[in-house]
């Protein structure tokens, strides 16, 4: 292990960029699991499906970010349908939805993964764009443009979702449904419709997140497994449902992973998110920025 403050600085710098990316891929889960309490273990799998759809669109000449944005409404509709289905099959029946709901999403994740393997094979896929592969020379540091792009998109995504939830009428209704569903019903609003709208947003956002995953690096069908750790780590660390907390937690994960990567090697990096997740669950399950 070689240690120097130069390397540390580089690791932190890279970690900040990586952290914003992690916040962006987790923010959909922060809405669906954090606010709506849906145990959406299939969130990372849906996101990787988004990456592959981006890949397909890119082969027709789309820019990956544009492709991600184009996919958002499609995924929004898919999300609404998925929630509707989950609601009719589990939430409506009430009792014991926990075990079955979890098993349901776990099964969905596996089905999506195998569907990708059958459709695209197990090989890694990547996309081409001007900002992928080149980097920004900053003195002695080199920052890949793809990281900057992901960083920018992540910030925009987090900021707009935070504003949406706190300023608009529907956004506030989503927060209200998370706080007290029966009260919302008493006010004459339909919590199921608000929840399916919110779940749609969460799924739509994961299309753009999927586009960023494939911008950052090549994807393969089984990649959702490692993102289960990263996304749930960020959401739990953030304190369920806190949007700004998601950004903070993403940064913590990004910086820790980057430091481990730099000083201990790539073979240890996958364990960082899962280790951090276990520590948070054991010590402070309400998260750092919790309500």
């Amino acid at each position: 292990m070689i240690f120097s403050f130069d390397l540390l600085f580089e690791a932190v710098l890279f970690g900040v960029l990586l952290g914003c990316f992690y916040a962006a891929v987790s923010i959909g889960l922060s809405v669906s699991f954090g606010l709506l309490d849906v145990p959406n273990v299939a969130h990372p799998a849906v996101m990787i499906v988004g990456s592959y759809f981006t890949y397909v669109l890119c082969s027709y000449g789309f820019d990956p970010i544009v492709a991600g944005v184009v996919l958002m409404p499609v995924f929004f509709v898919l999300g609404v349908l998925l929630y509707r289905f989950y609601y009719e099959s589990f939430e409506k029946r009430g009792t014991e939805a926990g075990v079955r709901g979890l098993a349901f999403f776990f099964g969905i994740a596996f089905i999506l993964e195998i569907a990708l393997i059958l459709g695209f094979g197990v090989d890694q896929r990547s996309v081409q764009a001007e900002y992928i592969g080149s980097s920004w020379e900053l003195g002695e540091y080199r920052i890949p443009y793809r990281m900057l792009v992901a960083f920018g998109v992540a910030l925009v995504l987090t900021a707009s979702l935070t504003l949406y939830l706190s300023k608009t009428f529907t956004g506030r209704a989503i927060k209200a449904v998370a706080q007290d569903e029966p009260a919302l019903r008493l006010m004459g609003a339909n919590p199921v419709r608000i929840k399916q709208w919110a779940f749609g947003i969460a799924t739509g956002v994961s299309a753009l997140a999927g586009a960023m995953v494939i911008i950052i690096g090549p994807v393969e069908p089984a990649m959702d497994r490692i993102f289960i750790g990263r996304t749930f780590c960020v959401v739990v660390l953030a304190g369920l449902g806190s949007m700004t907390g998601t950004l903070g937690a993403g940064l913590i994960l990004g910086i820790s992973e980057s430091i481990v990567l730099m000083f201990f090697g790539a073979s240890w990096a996958p364990a960082v998110a899962f280790g951090l997740l276990l520590i948070v669950l054991g010590i402070r399950p309400q998260g750092l920025f919790g309500r």
Partner: protein, 311 residues
Amino acid sequence: MKFWISCLVVALAAGGLAISGINEYFFFAAFVVLTYIVLATAWNILGGYAGYVNFGTSAFFGAGAYAAVVLFQALGAPLAVQIAAGALTGAALGFGVGVMTLRLRGIFFAIATVAVVFIMETLMINWRYVGGATGLQLQRPEVMAPFTTYARMLFVVMTLMAITAVGIARYIQTSWLGRGLRAVRDSEEAAEANGVPTLRLKLIACVVSGALMGAAGAPMPMYLSFIEPASTFSLNYAIGALAAPMIGGTIHWLGPVIGAIVLASLQQIVTVTISGEINVLVVGVLLVLFVILAPDGILGLFRKWLKSSSR
């Protein structure tokens, strides 16, 4: 009594098959099916009886497998010792994860178990002694009489283990432990308020379940004469162990056994006739279909059919 007589019959039948002259492939396939019976039964002790979903069966399974390999490498330990070590490792892991997360809601326990899979895998990838990421070739010891091949011996060992696992699950289901766990599943607050020591019961279930999963993993390296982290900690074990009870039915010890036999046999057939990917797809699709359409599994369907035909 009837239960133990049928167990004896199954054990004798397995012994008879093992010294008979039937095709060797049968033992290879049956070993996998039996492994899934143990895993599903173990999963159900916590998942079915208490309602705490374990997504990380492969962590316990893999921990058992690696414990066996370490003992075999270091001391050349016999299979029985390897299995005991696997069970102990699984139990210790179950205790650790349980203490950390069983206080929280079920979803957090589920996520924590996934985390344990990846942490264990990373540890083993970085541990040179057990072969790191590339794995380790193992030299099987001489097979004991009266068996002619190692696969036949493993088949009998696994049958005995499956009987033990089912016996334990059956005991838990009918004892005070099972009653307590059912209370936890139906309403944890109400159980706690009535003086049920919920955390202790859940921990016991988690430890027993982990021990059985660890034991199930221990013979795997000898079966393959090889060990490697990626396939040992594959989430395919996790989804199989979870899907089998869901398909068979979770409230009775027979459910996971039926589910595992149906599912694992189907998987063996699909793997041979179509492909390995489709076999995981089969598990996923069956799991989703059953949790939606037949929440009480095959046993539940059977009971419903009994009721409607008696009317």
